[in-house]
Symmetry: C2
Subunit: 341 residues, 2 copies
């Protein structure tokens, strides 16, 4: 690997500067991505290995991040489990037949992952070939709870009130669903690692909608099983949006890194996670709309606050579609120009 | 006051059991409210003192909460400041001409509050008469930051990315807007107290979208000025959704109580707030969809966790429209039936 900053940071090994990548770096705000978006529908982009590789490499070539993350979507796992998922323009994910009653739980299958998601593994192989060891490749999956949220709600939501209501009213059926997603996700992530993913990240985008005790029951328990099953094959990063209250428990899973959002200061994050694990984050995506000089000074301050060791610079959530490329690049450049205090 | 549990809890005085009320208790899920909703549009309901009183008293009569909160909306303050605000059915607030550029900042006026919001003060007087000192009446306002979020975004949003982008790109103009809202809010809350509100609550619904340092700059600074200006006239509760990281700073404002959401355990909330201030919360509104027996045992546990002194039982955010009245009532009854450990 020519640039192994990410791998070293995840092992807690010394680095001259922290690595940097950006959640959703391969989409949304990049003009060359928009061109492909206008030409091919969302899941065609996900299912065509050459397109996946092209999209995945865009930010490496254009803004110079220290890691690539495979272009895909967390919801492909639900598709593999027999659930129809559409990606509606200007709306987001839409599930025409959500699991909104006990009776529908049986609609969910535990698939043969190589049959149903082989296209992701193929895309990873081709992307690894095209990357030619310039930077590591990150694979990913949604957490079972986060997939459950979409599966029951049927779309995105501010509160996922239907999903939470279902879980609280039907804890047994919820457990069955989460079990099936967990088994599928373990095979899916193993497949990604077999295909060449150097690191995997678990996105728990909606874990922060739960109280600490509900989080343990409905989310962390399953993340824990996934991390246990794969941590010996590749380093795992857990990113739980809004899950500051569970950082300490997340450390115990054996993950190599924890994603932090901007509601949690560097100091709080180091304290809550016990001070030894590698942390990743946590710039507010909306702050990339600040003037470039402010972005650069903020990044410098952020590295000083987290410390340059055991740290991966990133946003605290995905990049927004309205961020100028020059601002995203300034964010990355600021890390490369970092001068210690 | 026949039932002064809320007032005693806010002063930290001994109570035989904690008081209970529910955010948004006067709307949404109550069948008698829905009837009025189908008959009068939203702002007619807010501007007709007799309707306000009728709606405000519904939960006192029907589910037996220990406090009333005046039926209104945080956005009436923007209307008073010369901003058109509509409440669209199945959509929520809509501002046809948001302040989305520097040039539009001058559209915002600092009004004569008695002229523009006198209907709220009148509604408070009539409601107080109708309440006849059965329970205290809570007045309220949105925090300046939360009103700014709607003012710039033009509607509700998951991320308020336009509002945050405006703030980060135009900090000076943002300060001008927040100043004007702050001055208006101080007069508005003073007017509510003069009219008879026994307690006031400041809702910072979107403060949790900011990092701790941005929260200090864009939200807490203005909340602090408001609390300083009114705390000698009535006890103030600050509710910052997702603002666990600022609890310690909120204590320093001189507020009498802090609202807590369910992401923050009782133990964390007591620790982060320093252990002396009255706390209010924090049941997950979606958990009111649990079986009634579970709601009752959860409430008992919650009181044990927070402790029955210096504590106000509430949800961690507004009640959801799909909650059965019997479940809301079970929540309230559980507090009244509370038996100490």
């Amino acid at each position: 690997m020519k640039n192994d900053l990410l791998l070293r940071a995840l092992k807690g090994l010394p680095v001259e500067r922290p690595p940097v990548w950006i959640m959703r770096q391969a989409g949304r705000y990049l003009p060359d991505y928009i061109k492909l978006k206008n030409k091919y529908d969302f899941f065609t982009r996900c299912r065509t290995p050459e397109l996946v590789s092209e999209i995945t490499l865009l930010p490496i070539d254009q803004i110079g991040t220290d890691a690539a993350i495979i272009f895909s979507d967390i919801l492909v796992v639900l598709q593999a489990m027999n659930i129809e998922v559409e990606m509606k323009p200007n709306f987001g994910p839409f599930i025409p037949n959500p699991i909104d009653s006990k009776e529908k739980v049986k609609n969910l299958i535990t698939p043969n992952v190589r049959d149903k998601l082989g296209y992701v593994f193929e895309a990873i192989k081709i992307t690894k070939r095209d990357l030619n060891d310039r930077v590591p490749l990150i694979g990913f999956a949604g957490s079972p709870w986060t997939l459950f949220c979409y599966l029951v709600q049927g779309s995105g939501s501010k509160t996922f009130d239907k999903s939470k209501g279902f879980a609280f009213a039907n804890p047994k059926e919820t457990e069955i669903i989460l079990e099936k997603i967990t088994l599928t996700t373990i095979e899916y992530l193993k497949g990604q690692i077999d295909a060449g993913a150097d690191v995997v990240q678990i996105f728990d985008s909606w874990g922060g909608l739960l109280s600490p005790s509900d989080y343990s029951e409905f989310s962390l328990k399953y993340i824990n099983r996934i991390v246990s099953a794969i941590k010996n094959y590749a380093p795992v990063i857990i990113f739980g949006k809004g899950c500051w209250f569970a950082l300490n428990e997340m450390v115990k899973t054996g993950a190599s890194g924890l994603g932090i959002d901007w509601s949690c200061s560097a100091r709080n994050a180091r304290y809550l996670s016990g001070g030894n694990i590698t942390l990743q984050g946590n710039y507010d995506p909306a702050k990339l709309l600040s003037p470039i000089s402010k972005i650069k000074s903020d990044v410098n301050q952020m590295i000083n606050d987290f410390g340059k060791q055991s740290y991966i610079v990133n946003l605290g959530h995905g990049i927004l579609p309205n961020i100028p490329v020059s601002h995203a690049k300034a964010f990355v450049d600021a890390v490369k120009e970092y001068k210690s205090l």
